[in-house]
Amino acid sequence: MDKRIPNLAEAIAGIPDGATVMIGGFGGSGAPIELIHALIDRYLATGSPRDLTVINNNAGNGHVGIAAMIEQGMVRKMVCSFPRSADPRVFTEKYLAGEIALELVPQGTLAERIRAGGAGIPAFYTPTSYGTDLARGKPVAEFDGRPYVQERWLKADVALIKAELGDHYGNLTYRMAARNFSPLMAMAAARTIAQVTRAVAPGGIDPEHVVTPGIFVSGIVEVANPAQEEALNRADAAYPPARPQEVQA
C-alpha cells in the first residue's frame, strides 16, 4: 500500500460538482492553499467542480484560498462559525447579494458535529446555542434537569487538509496550531487528501506521535514549501495571479 499521489492535479481530480468539501484550517493556520489552488486551476480549465458546499471555520480571507474559490464562483454554500476575517470582502459581497448560502454553526458544535460524522454518531446533545437563534428548529431535551440542543453529524465527500509529516500509509502529524480541524475532517470525509510538507517512509513517524492514523487518509501529496495564507494576504496576493497580458489589456 502506498497512498502517495504524484502531484496536486491528480490529488484533487475526481471531486465532482455539488460535492461537500471539508477544508482544514483556522484562518491561515492549516489552510491547504496548494490543494485549494489546484482545485481552482481545474475549475478554470474545465468548469468543474462547481456548486460546492465548503465546510471550514471561516469563509476565506483576501483573494487566495477559500476566498478565491468563492470569488471564482465555485461555492454554493459555506458551513462555518466565523465568516469574518481581516478582508472578508469576497464572501460578504456574495452573501449580501444572495449568491452564496451560509449555515452558521457555533465553533465547538462545528468541531463536534464533524467528529460525530467520523465516529458514527448521528446525533448528540449539547448545551451550546440553547435558547438562541442558532438552536431554532432543533430538538431540545432535558437531562438531569438541564436543557440541551440536539445536533446532527456532519460528513463530507472529500476533505482537503494540510499536514506536516505524512507516511506512505497516510499517518499524519501537524504543525502547532495548524492542527485545528484537520484530524476531525480526516475522519468525517469519505475521501481525505492531505498535502504534507514532508513525505516519509513507513516508520518515519513514531507510532506514539501519529495524530491522524492512516485509516482516515486516502492520499497524500507532498508540497515541500507550502504557502501560508496569512503571509499571502499580507503580501496582497490573489489567485490566480493577474497575468501580464491581462494587466495590459
Binding site: 467520523g118 458514527g120 475522519m187 507510532p207 501519529v210 492514523p213 492512516g214 485509516i215
Partner: protein, 223 residues
C-alpha cells in the same frame, strides 16, 4: 458426516477475500488466525480495539512487552507505519465505518444477518467486549465458524435463539463446509466442499440455502 475444513482452512478461505491494503479487525481467538493466511503480495493493515493500527505477529516467547498487546490481551509486535491511539479514537475507526472488514466468530447466524456471538444465556458472568461495536461499524462483517455446534446442531438458522450481538449485520459466513452469503434476508450458497451433496449440506443447515447461479467448489490447501 463428511470430512470438514479445519479452523486453519476456514481462516485461509476467509483470508483470500481480503484485499491488499484493507483495514481489518479480527475477533478474539479463532479469527486471529486469518492474519497468517494473507495471499502473497497482499498486505492488510490490522486494527485492534485497544488502540493499535498496523501490528504484526506475536513476539518470540520471553520477548513480550505487556504494554503492547491486542484485544485478546496477547503480546504483539509493530510493523513500520503503525500508530497508537486512545479507545475513543479506536472505536471511531470501528463505529465510523472506517474498517473494510471485521471477521468474527459466531454461536449462531440467522438468514437475515443477525449474529449471536457474545452470550450463551443468562448463567455465568456476561462479557461483551467490542463485538457489538464491530458488527455495526465495519463496511463488511464476515463470520468464520464450524458449520454446526459441537453436538451437531445447525449454527446457520432462520432466527437466532441466543442473545443477539447485532441485528442484520453479517453479510458472509465462512464455515467448515461452505461459503454462504446473506442477501435480502436469505442464505445464498456460494461455495461448498466438493465432497458434500447439496442435500447433505441443507440437512445440517437450519434455514433454506438458496442458489444464485453456480455453486463453486470450496477448495483449500492442506493446513
Amino acid at each position: 458426516m463428511t470430512r470438514k475444513l479445519t479452523n486453519a482452512q476456514i481462516a485461509w478461505r476467509a483470508a483470500q477475500d481480503i484485499a491488499d491494503g484493507a483495514y481489518v479487525n479480527l475477533g478474539i481467538g479463532f479469527p486471529e488466525m486469518v492474519a497468517k493466511f494473507q495471499p502473497p503480495g497482499r498486505q492488510a493493515v490490522f486494527h485492534t480495539e485497544n488502540g493499535v493500527l498496523g501490528f504484526g505477529e506475536a513476539p518470540p516467547a520471553g520477548q513480550e512487552d505487556w504494554d503492547l498487546i491486542n484485544a485478546g490481551k496477547k503480546a504483539i509486535t509493530l510493523k513500520p507505519g503503525a500508530a497508537f491511539f486512545h479507545h475513543a479514537d479506536s472505536f471511531a475507526m470501528v463505529r465510523g465505518g472506517h474498517l473494510d472488514v471485521a471477521i468474527l466468530g459466531a454461536y449462531q447466524v440467522a438468514q437475515n444477518g443477525d449474529l449471536a456471538n457474545w452470550s450463551t444465556g443468562p448463567k455465568g458472568v456476561p462479557a461483551v467486549g467490542g463485538a457489538m461495536d464491530l458488527v455495526h461499524g465495519a463496511k463488511r462483517v464476515a463470520v468464520i465458524t464450524d458449520h454446526v455446534t459441537k453436538d451437531g446442531k445447525p449454527k446457520l438458522l432462520e432466527a437466532c435463539t441466543l442473545p443477539l450481538t447485532g441485528v442484520g449485520c453479517v453479510t458472509r459466513v465462512y464455515t467448515s463446509l461452505a461459503v454462504v452469503d446473506i442477501e435480502g434476508g436469505r442464505f445464498v450458497l456460494r461455495e461448498k466442499l466438493p465432497a458434500i451433496s447439496l442435500d447433505d449440506l441443507q440437512a445440517v443447515t437450519g434455514a433454506r440455502l438458496h442458489l444464485d447461479g453456480a455453486v463453486g467448489d470450496l477448495v483449500v490447501p492442506e493446513l
